[in-house]
């Protein structure tokens, strides 16, 4: 858990005292772990104040971080030199020092970037789930990216925007569009029955068919048509 001031207090194989000042920190200032971390032990200090000793029952990085930070906070580190402190190796010492290094443990709310900004990278790398969409009576098929939507409501709105208020819809009140999809098994299902994530996984193509043709899916289809907007 380097980066919390622990670099001043970590156990190292090297000259005691001398190598632990700012020059030593500079060597690892790129933030990448150095030699000391290959030892791969997590050290927790006995804090000097009333805070309880780090328990080995802690789970969750946040909890650990908070305690560790409190522990680091009481470390007298005025001159920046490495001190040998009594350290407690916790039960959470990683068992395999040869494992590829895990990313540095994060502190809560650090770096101070608001959560809605944190997804910029994530959005770009999201998988795309393109499916063909056909609407009975429309001459062309369209393609839609299911990964862009989070719920059935969103999909419904998008389909409405895409196909607009077409003639087919206005013609006949009885003949509203029913949204169906073909799943992995090749069966035609009614959209909306399964949880959204499951739907995105299994949907191969979408078809908006006239209600009157959805006999095979009725009576549920007819029932649903009445209760849905």
């Amino acid at each position: 858990m380097a980066g919390l001031g622990f670099e001043e207090t970590e156990l190292r194989l090297g000259l005691p005292g001398g190598g632990g000042n700012d020059a030593g920190e500079a060597a690892r200032s790129s933030g990448k772990r150095g030699f000391a971390d290959t030892i791969d032990l997590k050290l927790k200090l006995q804090p000097a104040s009333a805070a309880p000793a780090a328990s080995s029952d802690d789970d969750g990085v946040e909890e650990e971080e908070k305690e560790a930070v409190a522990a680091a906070a009481v470390t007298p580190a005025g001159d920046g030199k490495m001190k040998s402190q009594s350290s407690v190796v916790t039960a959470q010492a990683q068992p395999d020092p040869d494992k590829p290094r895990a990313p540095k443990a994060q502190a809560v709310g650090w770096p101070p970037v608001r959560s809605f900004r944190k997804n910029v990278l994530a959005v770009k790398s999201e998988k795309v789930s393109l499916v063909k969409v056909s609407m009975d009576g429309a001459p062309y098929l369209r393609k839609i990216d299911l990964a862009m939507y989070k719920t059935y409501q969103d999909l419904s709105m998008a389909l409405h925007n895409m196909f607009g208020s077409s003639k087919i819809k206005d013609e006949n009140n009885d003949d509203e569009m029913v949204h169906t999809y073909e799943d992995k098994d090749g069966d035609w299902m009614l959209v909306g029955d399964v949880p959204w994530e499951m739907f995105v996984e299994s949907c191969k193509r979408l078809r908006m068919m006239k209600g009157s043709e959805a006999i095979g899916l009725a009576p549920r289809a007819m029932e649903k048509r009445k209760t849905r907007s």
Binding site: L4, S49, Y149
Partner: protein
């Protein structure tokens, strides 16, 4: 002199003096004071004597309650009955980074909605709310009881409401001119309950001048949006969300030839009919039309941008004064040719994906730049280093009119920060976030003390500072000694001892807001500020070494402070150590609606 309204005593209710000369004086005073705009001047005027206080209170038009907990709506209404513009700020800023446990409940709009409903502010024209929890019920109540003078609603970093609340406002606030919903967290989790609030605006021409919903996470009905925009002839600022495609944007722009501010939405092709066959040239000509009027000066959005369409905005680049690319991971190759034309840019928000080369290009061209935010593409301590001291130095040397900067990086050098301090002497806001905690100068290995010391020494107008990196007590000695105009200070993972906090509290005489996290500061440091706390809006200290005793002592000595101890880990039996201290002055005393993890001393 603080610009707060909340530290002034409420107006004493006295009957007007009966002899005519006094009455004439009051009338004259009111007439004259109406010309006084600045909040600080008004505060000063109100302290002269009782009749000035009365006159000033009667004529105060803009009221700012920058800590919601400092003054109740009833008190504000009693003193400023003619308030037209009300600004309210709620949660402390560190709540944005999840440091404040949910359920803290100190930022509820409810009492204000109730006050408006009982006609407390008959002349109200605008509400600006920041970091406040506003429920649908509040918006429902508000929309039905706001006076007809009401025009503008700004919600920034607010939460608690959903599309239903927005629909209430849209449908019931006749004459609404501004509806700006910015960076808010909107509860639209319940599928069945999502309301098409855009369609809720009544038919017929609207008075809308500004409509912004870039943060709204759900798709809106494009037909309704286009129709709304088409019937809003006064619309000059439009910010759409990420579900509006390029083709749809083009349609909207055709209806709004005099736009000044545009939030571009997804900036990529969508699946709808509006996008069929859309190419770069067509988009470019849409922006060229906007450029011809020379009105479009601000662009934002680009939430899922497709780089091949970026050239479409080239036509307006020379007119731009504000560009927000903070959701747009442009590479240097994409960014540099574009920024090379932005000679008039004054405000720029970018991601560090532009790299040092992008910053260098900015420095070469944007000589009028005043505000620069460089945000991290990947907000982690282990992330790749995309911008360095090279970029910061280039900016310092090229953009000498810089007033405000927020800069995220993995590591930094003192030399670069010193360069900023020497070149940008008008700097008012300097926020450097070295994401690696305790990172020293990566070239010299020294702490970042000298860099921040140079900033406070050379930039005498500095009002806001955020520190980062490895800092010893010396850095804070500099801050206390030189940062005499500083009003806001943010410190994280820094300092060695209580001395640092002492330097701050005893040196920074204008300090109003202090937020500290994870520093080795204890009771002694806290108590060194007793002389100053009444002059501050708030103090936040989390992850430090405070104890119950120290905080109790403060509460005892300063009764008009509300001292909240917030425990974000209630499962831990921490008897004496304080997790979070949030302390603020208030005219109302301790609040009543405290959750179990909050203790008010």
């Amino acid at each position: 002199m603080s610009e707060e309204d909340d530290d002034q005593p409420p107006a004493a209710k006295r009957p007007r003096a009966s002899p005519p000369p006094d009455q004439v004086l009051d009338n004259v005073l009111e007439t004259v004071l109406q010309f006084l705009d600045s909040a600080r001047d008004r505060c000063a005027a109100s302290l002269v004597c009782r009749s000035w206080h009365r006159a000033e209170s009667a004529t105060r038009v803009s009221v700012s309650v920058r800590n919601l907990l400092a003054a109740s709506p009833a008190r504000v209404a009693r003193r400023f009955p003619n308030a037209r513009h009300i600004l309210l700020k709620g949660r402390p800023r560190f709540a944005d980074f999840n440091l404040l446990p949910p359920g803290w409940a100190g930022a509820d709009f409810r009492p204000w909605a109730a006050a408006v409903a009982s006609s407390a502010f008959p002349a109200l024209a605008s509400f600006s709310l920041k970091r406040i929890t506003v429920t649908d019920h509040d918006l429902h109540l508000l929309s039905r009881s706001l006076p007809s003078s009401f025009r503008d609603l700004h919600l920034l970093l607010c939460d608690g409401f959903s599309s239903a609340g927005l629909a209430s406002i849209a449908s019931h606030c006749r004459g609404l001119r501004v509806l700006d919903v910015v960076d808010c967290e909107i509860n639209d989790d319940d599928d069945d309950a999502v309301v098409d609030w855009v369609a809720a605006f009544p038919p017929g021409p609207t008075d809308l001048e500004s409509l912004s919903f870039e943060c709204y996470a759900r798709p809106v009905s494009f037909a309704a949006l286009e129709a709304l925009v088409a019937r809003s002839p006064r619309l000059t600022r439009l910010g759409v969300n990420e579900h509006v495609s390029l083709g749809q944007l083009r349609r909207l722009m055709a209806h709004t030839p005099r736009l000044t501010h545009l939030g571009t939405g997804a900036f990529r092709l969508g699946d709808g009919p509006e996008d069929v066959g859309l190419d770069v040239e067509q988009m470019a000509s849409a922006f060229a039309s906007a450029a011809r009027n020379s009105t479009l000066v601000s662009l934002s959005g680009f939430r899922e941008f497709e780089p091949e369409y970026l050239p479409a905005i080239a036509a307006v680049s020379v007119n731009l004064t504000t560009l927000d690319f903070s959701y747009c991971p442009v590479t240097p190759d994409q960014f540099i040719p574009f920024v090379g034309q932005c000679h008039n840019l004054e405000t720029l928000y970018v991601l560090d994906s532009v790299r040092d080369e992008g910053l260098q290009a900015t420095a070469r061209t944007c000589k009028k730049l005043q505000v620069l935010h460089v945000l991290p593409l990947n907000a982690h301590e282990d992330a790749d280093e995309l911008v360095t001291e090279v970029g910061l130095t280039a900016i310092a040397e090229g953009c000498r009119e810089l007033r405000s900067t927020l800069f995220f990086c993995q590591s930094m050098t003192n030399a670069a920060v010193i360069a900023v301090s020497q070149n940008c002497i008008d700097l008012k806001v300097f926020r450097l976030c070295i994401m690696g905690r305790h990172q020293p100068d990566h070239v010299t290995g020294e702490p970042m003390d000298e860099g921040f010391g140079a900033i406070v020494r050379n930039c005498s107008k500095l009002t806001r500072l955020s520190t980062s990196g490895r800092l010893t007590d010396r850095a804070f000695e500099y801050i206390g000694k030189y940062a005499k105009s500083l009003r806001t200070l943010s410190v994280a993972f820094a300092g060695d001892s209580d001395l640092a906090l002492q330097h701050i509290l005893q040196g920074c005489s204008k300090l109003e807001k202090l937020e500290i996290r994870d520093c080795p500061f204890g009771d002694a440091g806290l108590l060194s500020g007793l002389h100053h706390f009444y002059n501050m809006r708030f103090l936040w200290m989390s992850g430090c070494n405070l104890t119950l005793q120290g905080c109790k002592e403060v509460a005892l000595i300063l009764p008009r402070l509300v001292v909240e101890l917030i425990n974000s880990h209630p499962e831990n039996e921490k008897t004496d150590a304080v997790d979070i201290l949030y302390m603020y002055r208030s005219l109302e005393g301790p609040r009543e609606d405290v959750p179990p993890f909050v203790k008010i001393l």
